[in-house]
Symmetry: C2
Subunit: 155 residues, 2 copies
């Protein structure tokens, strides 16, 4: 039996292969290239054993996941988390599974005393933006009303 | 004698007080709150002794600075750098000092084998966006043309 509404839980190193598989599927849905499954398994296996990377899963077997990586900042006593990915299998969307994962993430962020959690959201992805805003994320600076863009350079 | 065009260099823990002072001045210019000078000195002194935080300075005495913090990512073999701040004293802008610092940052990012460097840029700050783009940063996804927003939640 599968149970898509099994409660969200934090991932352990034993979830490495499952996470790698979902990460590949997630990027395939958006036509984004990823490292190979083998490389992802190796990296995720290493990262899940550090205290600067964590992940959440939902469903049994898992049908949704999220990953958070942490950096330091002079602006906060705690670390800053970056929500790298949040994914629910397409056929299971609209049932609150993403919300379950997000609540777990925010609880865990508080438990870890993070100062801030950041996300990069593609401009056309208005559903994602609405979802994140409904969970307390801020799109515009509360004082200036300005939005900020996420820009990057690969090496 | 002061020399604003003294070559850009990486900061050492001995630069902690100078960096903290400039970080306060930078945020004051944009009416952003910061932790106190004492708290910043303590945090920067700690962070500059780690291998996940680094900074660059230019001028003698320094008149410009930048800070980079690093996180892990399953998408890259190397770490991901986040350019937290880049600042040139207002009366010395337009002389290429920011460009000197940026070239040093990108050289150091390559030396550290970072996979990616990210920046958050406020939407109205078109001069900053032009500057970053001139140094190779990408505002729109090369395949989709989409921009991405940087959103956040503080705790």
């Amino acid at each position: 039996m599968t149970d898509a509404r099994s409660p969200a839980r934090l991932a352990s190193p034993g979830d490495t292969a499952t996470l790698a598989r979902m990460l590949v599927d997630f990027n395939a849905e958006y036509d984004e290239e990823t490292p190979s499954l083998e490389v992802l398994e190796s990296r995720l296996g290493t990262l899940l054993r550090t205290d600067r990377f964590w992940a959440a899963l939902a469903g049994d077997p898992p049908v949704a996941f999220a990953t958070v990586t942490e950096r330091d900042s002079p602006y906060y006593e705690g670390r800053v988390g970056y929500l790298e990915d949040l994914y629910v299998r397409p056929e299971l969307r609209g049932q609150g599974i993403g919300g379950d994962i997000m609540r777990l993430l925010l609880d865990e962020a508080r438990r870890r005393a993070l100062g801030l959690v950041e996300i990069g959201v593609d401009e056309p992805d208005v559903d994602a933006m609405r979802f994140y805003e409904s969970h307390g994320f801020i799109h515009r600076d509360p004082e200036t009303g300005d939005r900020a863009f996420h820009i990057y350079q690969e090496f």
